[in-house]
Amino acid sequence: MARIAFHEVSKYYRGASKPAVDHVSFEVAESSICMLLGTSGSGKTTLLRMVNRLIEPSSGTITIDGHSILEENPIQLRRRIGYVIQQVGLFPHMTIAENVRLTAEIAGWSKDRMERRVDELLTLVGLDPAEYRRRYPRQLSGGQQQRVGLARALASDPAILLMDEPFGALDAITRVHLQDELQRIQREMRKTILFVTHDVEEAFRLGDQIAILSEGRLVQIGSPVDLLLRPADEFVSRLIGSDNIQRQLQYLPVRSAMLAGTEAAGEDERQPRCSSEATLLEALMSLIASGAQALLVYDEQSQAPIGTITLSAINQAITTVRHTETAPTTVSPAH
């Protein structure tokens, strides 16, 4: 249980001409990943740090499951929220095991329970406990350190995880690797995750929802597909690269480009098929691999054939998306 809701949240800093966060309202559904995407100075980190009260809002309310966090003791609040930051911030004088179990230790867990938890978490993040327990942070690579950072944040099994550009300082290969690991862990753990990033690719890869921020304001929030198909304005369209063909192929579902009617593909049993929820890229690869003119699209749930997909349909869909850039559809932000 952990639904986070922002309501008209603002943050003004003394001496600053513009608010860092300006009347932001949106909700993060339980067990989902919401990416806060924006350039530096967009207010995304400020917004994140208000959830565990490292920064206090100037006005507005933030609730977790309907309860205002401002009425809770900040220390208690932070202990039930995991926190992962870009610089990791492992304690260099403590072993990996000591780092991971610190919150459990403060919460007064028994030694046995703590040790079991440490082993469990290190295994979860892909570090062999036997090898890494007794090591020190400085003996680990950047990627390994952030794995420990994630394990430490998960120690007391919080329902919410706040991640502030956790993979921002890693090389591209390690970053993708850890993104995959996070997705695997999330399938298992089902946390409510708020994740700050300036990396559009990362936002698309990990986000159930992406909230786009600019100059403290929420410009648009929606699923990756929503944003690609219906960017709120020119800014969003440019930021997410609506005309990026590769991104469209990777994230748009076959459903969005499908032709009605199944005649073109024929009802032949051997006709190559694909799911309506597959990506355009998967469809494209099937078309090329099978050499067929068209694929039969079937409904993911009912397994019934519902349409066809062809190379020209895919091309058509991508072109349409590109055109929306000049004539934007209006999807107002959620406030």
Binding site: L54, L77, I85, P92, T103
Partner: protein
């Protein structure tokens, strides 16, 4: 021959060698203790204020540049002679390295470490005791080591302002051209300075957490140097 004479000098009750030793140790111990307490307190106090830390850091640097004998001579008209003024002078000399290392030690803790600790729900006391103190202590110990060696070596000069101790042998010996008497003061001081250096070095290593020892940071090396 000289060594036998030296031994005889030390054993001769008329020379009150043990009283001199005691007086010397007392002056050193009290000065080091006071300098440690004051250095840490001031270092912690100024760390949050850019202005105060600027003043404290630069004043400390300046004080280290002043020749010790000039310092004692300059202090004489104000502090007078005897045990207390000697303590004041030596303490003032001992404060800068400790203050500088305390300040540098606290500043050298990565802000991300404190941010992570706060974000995890550690309270101020837990952050201080579990994170800040263990990380700063070895650097402070390096400062105390520098101070202690400096104080032990300087305390001989304090005989000029009448603090007693080994310095008396050296001053009188120089005055009367008695090599044995000079050595009776100089040798114990040299031995004591080396002993303090060894002991404090050991203490410093003992206070350095294993996690920091795995890759002795360039910083703590630089601070110690």
């Amino acid at each position: 021959m000289l060594l036998i004479q030296l031994w005889q000098f030390i054993l001769d009750p008329a020379n009150t060698f043990w009283d001199h030793t005691l007086a010397y140790l007392q002056v050193c111990a009290v000065s080091v203790a006071l300098a440690t307490v004051l250095g840490i307190v001031i270092g912690v106090a100024v760390v949050r204020s850019p202005l105060l830390s600027f003043v404290a850091v630069n004043l400390s640097g300046l004080m280290r540049a002043i020749p010790i004998i000039a310092f004692l001579a300059a202090a004489l008209p104000y502090l007078g002679v005897g045990f207390k003024p000697t303590i004041v002078a030596l303490t003032l000399l001992g404060i800068p390295p400790i203050l500088l290392n305390t300040y540098t030690g606290i500043r050298s803790i990565e802000p991300a470490i404190i941010d992570a600790a706060r974000g995890m729900g550690l309270n101020t006391r837990q952050i201080l005791l579990r994170i800040q103190v263990p990380l700063v202590l070895p650097i402070v110990a390096a400062g105390v080591r520098t101070s202690a060696v400096q104080i032990v070596a300087t305390a001989t000069l304090a005989a000029i302002i009448g603090a007693g101790g080994y310095g008396e042998y050296i001053v009188n010996g120089l005055y009367e051209f008695k090599t044995v008497q000079i050595l009776a003061g100089a040798l114990p001081v040299a031995l004591l300075a080396m002993l303090v250096e060894l002991l404090m070095g050991w203490l410093q290593r003992a206070l350095t957490p294993a996690g920091l020892r795995v890759q002795e940071t360039a910083l703590s090396e630089a601070v110690r140097a």
